[in-house]
Symmetry: C2
Subunit: 314 residues, 2 copies
């Protein structure tokens, strides 16, 4: 699993940061990529990466502000033009369907694949054998949502050669051992499941939030997560504005990460009022509260490996 | 007057060419900029120029395909955010109003200025003391328009000192001379208007066309123009595709320029199938038919000076 930040700015594009978009790369896990938000020129950002639009299987839209959706029609059209022909699921607040359908209709954009819209974003919004996604409403000036993606524990792995060495014959006994049962061999020897399987691997938990004030739902979505992606539009000097405009300060984000016992915090949606030279100070402010934390930049990529459960910046 | 190309590609953005947008800079003439089409990420392109979004007074949309309009909502929102508070006139085919209004409504984008929509694009669509704009329908797969912008002749300039030297007193006689009348002085001397005025300056004529097949309307819009901006999505090898998809080849564009007795031809809307190394061949193909012609690239700027009536690449 990798997180690739495509746009990390707030409100308007700047030369440093594009408007919001984030790719959750699940290529090893399911051969797919999930997008979170799709600000204008997300497809342009993708041109500078190895992402294939046809691999994008799901798009999660946190809220309907322009800096989170204005790149969606162009992305969908180009995905079709570039050979994408499999269904895309779009999860977003009520209105996302009307937006996409009316823009595609007026611009006569024909897609070679169907779109499936999911506009009910409370609780479990997706689940299959590999992963589940929970959504909850945050606290912004318009309905804005956060998503918690949990990978299911991987089934224990059967160590076939070790089982053979212990004299387990091919066949149903192997299946029992894999399922966690101990078995008695014909020669009277007891083989424990734990002797011939590798321990179960805990899956990752990633929480990706839309624009929000400091709020309880953010803590719940992030609870115990390996990674929390939280907005940080303002800082201590502009705390008042954060409240007025429905946003968080970088310190708010760090406190949420702390209260939620998150491992790694990554903040995005930074105001263009922050200059590159302000960043050291911002990082210091954030790490005082939550040590394992990063400010995201466009094209930053973070990699999470199942065996060490740590997120590393590529 | 300057022409600044912001996006010169067709259909989808590429690393070399963004989707369509062209700025007609009329800063000296009227302190304003007019935009022609507004593909996705036009506002991003503008970040790399000296253009001020609040100076954009009119936006002409040739047709409703996504590669010509997907940057419009973002541009309008950012123009407001950056302090633009004067009316914008948007000229476009029926549907442009519904597009802009529904996207702004769903994304809760509030503008600090009104938009005035003009959806009837036949004949004279704008005229004031300085300039007129004619529109006509071209031949594409959906309604697509071209615009002919004519600057009115500048009024003759009165050479006050020369009139004084010839003995013309201050007052109404000067006004008559300026208006083209000859006058008889009290001392019996006849002063000709032509002696004390500088010849009238012909204004510029610029024709900017949307996507089109080779068609008669293109010749009429371009007739005698100083500059014709014409699409060239295909070339001789792909002539068949041009007809099927409602586009022109680069040779079509050159022939139109020739038949319309245009001074300078600039082609845009080039397919990404053309590689930078193909360009020499394309230019040769085009100049065989119309010598004074250019292929536009993103950020190319052309400057037209009233006194030499020639367009020069900056
Ligand atoms: Zn935002
Ligand atoms: Zn086009």
């Amino acid at each position: 699993m990798q997180l690739l930040f495509l746009g990390t700015g707030a409100g308007m594009p700047s030369k440093q940061r594009n408007t919001s978009s984030l790719a959750l790369k699940l290529l090893e896990e399911r051969g797919a990529v999930w997008l979170f938000d799709c600000g204008e020129a997300t497809q342009h950002q993708i041109l500078h990466t190895t992402l294939k639009p046809r691999k994008v299987e799901k798009i999660f839209i946190t809220h309907l502000h322009g800096d989170h959706i204005f790149g969606l029609p162009g992305f969908l059209g180009s995905r079709s033009f570039q050979g994408g022909d499999e269904t895309v699921e779009i999860y977003g607040p009520p209105g996302i369907r009307e937006y996409v359908e009316s823009v595609l209709r007026i611009s006569r954009t024909h897609l070679n694949y169907p779109i499936h819209f999911i506009e009910e974003l409370d609780g479990l919004v997706f689940e299959d054998e590999e992963v589940s996604v929970q959504a909850a409403k945050l606290d912004h000036v318009i309905p804005s949502y956060g998503f918690r993606i949990e990978q299911k524990p991987l089934p224990p792995k059967l160590l076939i050669e070790r089982a053979r060495d212990l004299g387990v014959p091919k066949g149903p006994l192997l299946a029992k051992l894999k399922a966690g049962e101990d078995v008695l061999l014909e020669n009277g020897r007891l083989v424990k499941s734990s002797e011939v399987t590798e321990a179960e691997n805990k899956g990752f938990i990633v929480a990706i939030l839309g624009d929000t004030r400091y709020c309880q739902a953010a803590i719940e979505l992030g609870s115990g997560a390996d990674v929390l992606v939280h907005e940080a539009t303002f800082d201590a000097d502009t705390q008042k504005l954060a409240g007025e405009y429905g946003h968080s300060t970088i310190r708010d984000a760090a406190e949420i990460a702390n209260l939620a016992s998150v491992k790694t915090l990554i903040v995005n949606h930074l105001s263009s009022r922050f200059l590159p030279e302000d960043e050291k100070k911002l990082v210091k402010e954030m790490r005082k509260v939550h040590a394992d934390s990063f400010i995201a930049h466009d094209f930053d990529e973070f990699d999470w490996k199942i065996h060490d459960h740590a997120l590393k910046k590529k």
